[in-house]
Every structure is written in structure tokens, then in C-alpha cells.
Amino acid sequence: MLSEKKGKTQKTKIIDWSYLFSLFLSIVLALLVGALIMAATGHNPGKAYLALAQGATGCSSIGEFFTSVFTKRQFGNTLEYTMVLTLTGLACVLGARVGIFNVGGEGQLYLGAICSAQVGVILSGMSPWLVIPCAVLVAMAVGGFYAWIPGVLKVKLKVNEVITTIMLNSVAIYFCSFLSNGPWQTTESTRRGGTQTLAGELRFPRLIQGSSLSTAIIGSAVVALLVWYVLSKTTTGYEMKLIGQNSRFSFFSGLKVDTITIWAMVVSGAICGLVGMFEVYGVKGSYQDGISNDFYFDGLLVAMIMRYNPVGIMLMSIFFAFLKVGATGMELIAGVPGELYRIIQAIVIFFMAAEKGISGLVKANVEKSRAKREAKQRLKEETV
């Protein structure tokens, strides 16, 4: 009972300062480790990080940032990737809330992308007002269905969903390659491994010229707000939380645990499918092999770092999008391999995951030495 009360009083705190502090510390430490790696491989860390900031914003000075950042191509890419990370991160949260880990977002994204692209090819010549809703529906249905399989296997048969979703990722990616190099291959002679390029009027208008930022960001914002609303303001969201904390208790309280769990997975997959559709209609203009560069895994990491908090994910997505897009600039300007951002990302997670354990160990040590000192003192007093 007591522990339950404690938990409640902690929840009412709006901002967990100690958590934010360790998050900040983890990021700073990870960037420091990144700097050390750069120094060790013969690069200038200061210059590289400046190049990173330049690569993410497209601005070479602070003055330029305030006057014209919204016209910069690179800044558009950063915003677009923020949207991808937010959606994939939230997709991960939907599963994690009910205690099921959807690691298969990558496969759901690929299938959503290629199916929606093919919808655009089949319905070419028709009004965008018909084609785009169709494409959205197909992408979400395909992604949702593909997440439904591991969801049902987990709920009905208790098959480990981490393994099945990862295996299904490989299956989906190979299957998409089969389609894009076989039956659905483009007839354009200049490209291989992709579907036919979509007609111009089907593609989302660009918000910043030359960048990948399109009006898809509006759709993403709507979806993100919906997910946030459902998770934190509705009974369904509360029920999901209960299931995640204690599914047996929820079951005996009369919640439809199985149905809610499977639906959480389906919606999670549908969002991933939608991200794939946005990538095709907003950025690439067709399905291409390797269309997602680990988008879902990046989102998954952001979700883990923010401990599956929706608002936190939206904010942290900005930082990691900055890092990923900036890494491209860093590679071009400073010659540091862009993969460094992935190392930094992983290190942040290691620090965050270890944070509780380390602080626990430190506390235990402090307690131990204090107890020892007190015991010694008492011993002295008694002997005197």
C-alpha cells in the first residue's frame, strides 16, 4: 500500500528534474565520447561539431540562423526527419505501453511505402483527391496487418514478439525488393530497383524548396497529436497503461487485454506504414530499394531514451534529427564518417539505461561508508 502511495505522489510531479538532469548529462557525455573518437581518428572535434550544426541548419553563423533559417534546405530536412522520428517513436510507444515491443516497424514501413506507391501507379491519371486517401488507407492497412501477425502470435500463442518482428523485417524488405525488381519494377531505363515515378500532382507540395520537407508534416502533426491525446487523455490510454503495468490484474478487472494489445500493435504498424507512404509521396516520389535508412530503429531509440513519454519523444526527436541530418554535413565538410551519430545515439542509451543502476550503487556505497563511520564512532564512545 505504502509503495503504491509513493508511486502516486511521484506521478503527480509534472517534470522529473533528476531524470532531465541525467538525460542532459548523458547527452553531454555522449558528445564528449564522440569528440574523443574523432580526435582518436585524426579529426578536429570542434570543427566537426560546428560542421554538424551547419549541416543541420544550413546556416554558417548565428545571425544567419535568426534571419533565414526557414529558407534553408538542410533545415527543412531536419524538420522532416523530426517528423519521421516522432511518428516512429510514437508507434513504438503504442506497443510499449501495453507491454509488447514492436521492433518490426522497419518492415511495416517498407510494405506501406511500396503498396502506397503502387496505388499511385495503378490509379495514375485520377484526381489526387481520390488517389492520396486511397494510398494513405492502403499504407496504413498493410502496415497494420503486418504488425497484426506478430501481435496475434504474441497474444494468443505467447511467441516472443521481438524475434518475430525482427524476422518479419527481413522478410518484408526482401519481399519489397522482389516486387520492386520484378512485377512492380519501373519501366524507366535510368533507374533500377524501384516503382514507377509518381505524377507530379500526386506528390505533396514542398514547404522549403529543395528540401524533403513537404505538407506531409501537417498530417504527421495530426497523427502525433491524436496518439498523444489517446495515450494521455482518454480511458483507452489509461487502460493501455494498466495492461502494461500488470496484464493479469487488468484481465481480472474485466479489461479486454487481448483485444487492446492486438489493436495497439495494429495501430503501431499502421503509423509505420503511413511513414512509408509519406516518404514516397513527400520525399522520394517513388518506392526505391533501401527507402528507409533505419528510420524505425532511430525512432525506437528516441522512445527508449525518453522512457516512452510521448511529449518527450516529440522534443527529443528534434535533437536526434539535428544530429542525423547534421552528420551528413559533417561528413561533407569535415570528412568525419556520418555513422558517428549512431555511435553517439547508442552511447546516450547506455548512459540512460545505466543511470538508475549507477546512482543506486553510489547511494549504496555512501550509505555503507556512513554506517561504517557511525559504527566506528559508537564503538569508540562505548570503549571510552
Binding site: 573518437i37 581518428t41 515491443f101 521492433v103 502470435l153 500463442l157 505467447k158 511467441v159 516472443n160 521481438v162 524475434i163 518475430t164 525482427i166 524476422m167 518479419l168 523485417n169 527481413s170 522478410v171 526482401y174 519481399f175 525488393s177 522482389f178 525488381n181 520484378g182 533505419d294 530503429f297 525506437l300 531509440l301 527508449m304 564518417p337 555513422e339 558517428l340 551519430y341 549512431r342 555511435i343 545515439q345 547508442a346 552511447i347 542509451i349 547506455f350 539505461a353 545505466a354 538508475k356 543502476g357 549507477i358 543506486g360 550503487l361
Partner: protein
């Protein structure tokens, strides 16, 4: 052209070996009660270390040794977080996989200045592991053609599987490792630290994944390519579950995977798209996972009915 030729079974052994080696490590951590999904990253790092040391020293043996040593270090690193800091195993495993993917690509660029794959340079080609050819083995009727002329690791695996079995079921350390997962409280009462057993199992897992990675990059082929572990760590995990963490059954599971992987290669000769045939082992892994769970449940129900 017969699809079930000796070549198919040879390919089966080749494909099964890295998975089986990693799975030998995975069943250690499984017994110790750690859900280790970081094996994929461990294999990838092992493959990279093996190739780079083989390149710089010119000796494949040193490459293998380095891969195993680095595997031990990664096992220590993994245990530091999972056992000492009590972090979430799922998060640490995922982070390890991501770190391995990023670090190997980064180092490939930083050290060898190439993207994608590294096969050594023109003046210094990579030295791979030798194939074992013996006329004595080759003359054994029926299976001689299959088991002769494989990479060294195929035979090493046959040595490791029974050794791991003996270690787990016939030595005190094996007993303690199993107890650390099944009943840590009882183990602690007996005066043995379950945490220590978890450390040992993680280290062994890292070493085996190092072997698996070395075989992948110096035995199967002689090169390193980005993400070449290709989810084999997860397949190894599935094999561990399929085989109930019993080394012999786990090796059998790895052979099933190897068989379907090899079958996929063969089917390409029948003009089936390589993309479709590449799907086969992953689909089979899902089927294997479902099969083993359903069988367990049936048995449980039968037991209940028997009572």
C-alpha cells in the same frame, strides 16, 4: 540437376555454423536468466575485428583470436550494464546492436577508407581460414563428400557442442549457471553468487559470438561487409528457444536453419528470384518459433489432463 546434392548439405553446414556458434553462447546467457538479444551486434563486431586483425597481421589465426578476445570484452561490457547496473536487457541488447552497426561502419571508413565492403588491398589480400581436406574423410561412403573440405569452424563446432553440453550438465559451473537462471535465491543460499554466474555466461556468450563473427568473415567468405551479420544473432536466439537451450537440440535447430538457407541458394538455379529465396530462412525461423511454443502448450495441457 538434383537439388538434394552433396553441395546442398555442404552449404547447410556452412550456413548453420555461425548461427550454431552464436547460439552456443546464447544458450549460456539463456540458462543464466538473461534475455540476450545483443548477439547480433556481438557477431558483427567479431566479424569486423577478425577481418582487420587478419589484414594487419596477415594471419587468419590471429584474426580469430582477436575476435574472441574482443568478444570477451563485449561480454564484460554487456554484463556490466545488465548485471551490475541492472539495466533493461532489451534496451541494452538493442543499443549494443545499434552501436555495433554504427561502430563497424565508422571504423571501416576511418581505418580502411572504404564504404560497403572490405576485401583487403591489392598488395595485401586478406588471408582467410583454410578448408580442411583429407582423403581419409573424403573416402567415407555417402557422407564423405559432404563433411570433407569444409572450413575449420565446421569441425570446431562439432567439438564445441558436446563440450558445452558437458560443461552445462556435468560440471559444477554449468550447474551453477543453470541455477542462476532457474532459482537464484537457492543458489545464493548455497553460498554462490548468481551475479557471478551471469558474468561468466555473458563472457562465454561474447567469446562464442566472436567465433561466430570470425567464421562469418574469414570462413564463409573472406571479407567484411556492412551489416553482414544479417540478423543471424536473432536467428541464433530463436534456435536457442527452439532447442530449449539444450546444446544438441540447439545445434539441430541451427542445422534446420542452415538447410533452408542452403535450399534458398539452390532454388536460385531454378530461376526463382533471389529476393524470394532469401526470405525463406527468416520465414522458417518464425515458423520454428510458433511450432515450439504450440508444442510446449500442448504438452502442458496434456500434463494437466494427466494429473
Amino acid at each position: 540437376m538434383n537439388i538434394f546434392s552433396a553441395g546442398l548439405f555442404k552449404q547447410m553446414l556452412r550456413s548453420a555454423t555461425p548461427v550454431a556458434l552464436a547460439a552456443m553462447g546464447g544458450l549460456m546467457t539463456e540458462h543464466a536468466g538473461i534475455m540476450n538479444i545483443g548477439m547480433d551486434g556481438m557477431i558483427l563486431i567479431g566479424a569486423f575485428v577478425a577481418v582487420s586483425f587478419s589484414y594487419f597481421t596477415g594471419s587468419a589465426a590471429i584474426g580469430v583470436l582477436a575476435a574472441v578476445l574482443v568478444g570477451v570484452l563485449i561480454g564484460l561490457f554487456f554484463a556490466l550494464f545488465v548485471v551490475k547496473f541492472k539495466s533493461d536487457e532489451f534496451i541494452i541488447g538493442t543499443a549494443l546492436n545499434i552501436l555495433a552497426g554504427g561502430a563497424t561502419v565508422f571504423l571501416l571508413r576511418a581505418i580502411f577508407n572504404v564504404k560497403g565492403t572490405f576485401q583487403g588491398t591489392a598488395d595485401r589480400p586478406l588471408s582467410g581460414l583454410p578448408l580442411i581436406n583429407s582423403s581419409f574423410i573424403g573416402n567415407i561412403p555417402v557422407i564423405g563428400g559432404i563433411i570433407n573440405g569444409n572450413s575449420l569452424f565446421v569441425y570446431l563446432t562439432w567439438l564445441f557442442v558436446p563440450l558445452v553440453w558437458v560443461f552445462l550438465y556435468r560440471t559444477p559451473y554449468g550447474f551453477w549457471i543453470r541455477a542462476a537462471g532457474e532459482n537464484p535465491g537457492a543458489l545464493r543460499t548455497a553460498g554462490i553468487s548468481p551475479e557471478k554466474m551471469k558474468w561468466i555466461s555473458s563472457i562465454l556468450c561474447g567469446a562464442f559470438c566472436g567465433f561466430a563473427g570470425a567464421h562469418l568473415s574469414l570462413g564463409n567468405v573472406t571479407m567484411f561487409s556492412e551489416g553482414m551479420s544479417n540478423n543471424r544473432g536473432f536467428i541464433a536466439f530463436a534456435c536457442v528457444i527452439f532447442g530449449g537451450a539444450n546444446p544438441l537440440k540447439v545445434y539441430l535447430a541451427a542445422l534446420i536453419f542452415g538447410f533452408f538457407d542452403a535450399l534458398g541458394y539452390r532454388l536460385q538455379e531454378y530461376r526463382i528470384s533471389p529476393y524470394l529465396t532469401s526470405m525463406i530462412p527468416y520465414v522458417i525461423t518464425v515458423v520454428m518459433m510458433v511450432y515450439v511454443v504450440v508444442r510446449q502448450q500442448r504438452r502442458r495441457i496434456a500434463q494437466k489432463a494427466g494429473e
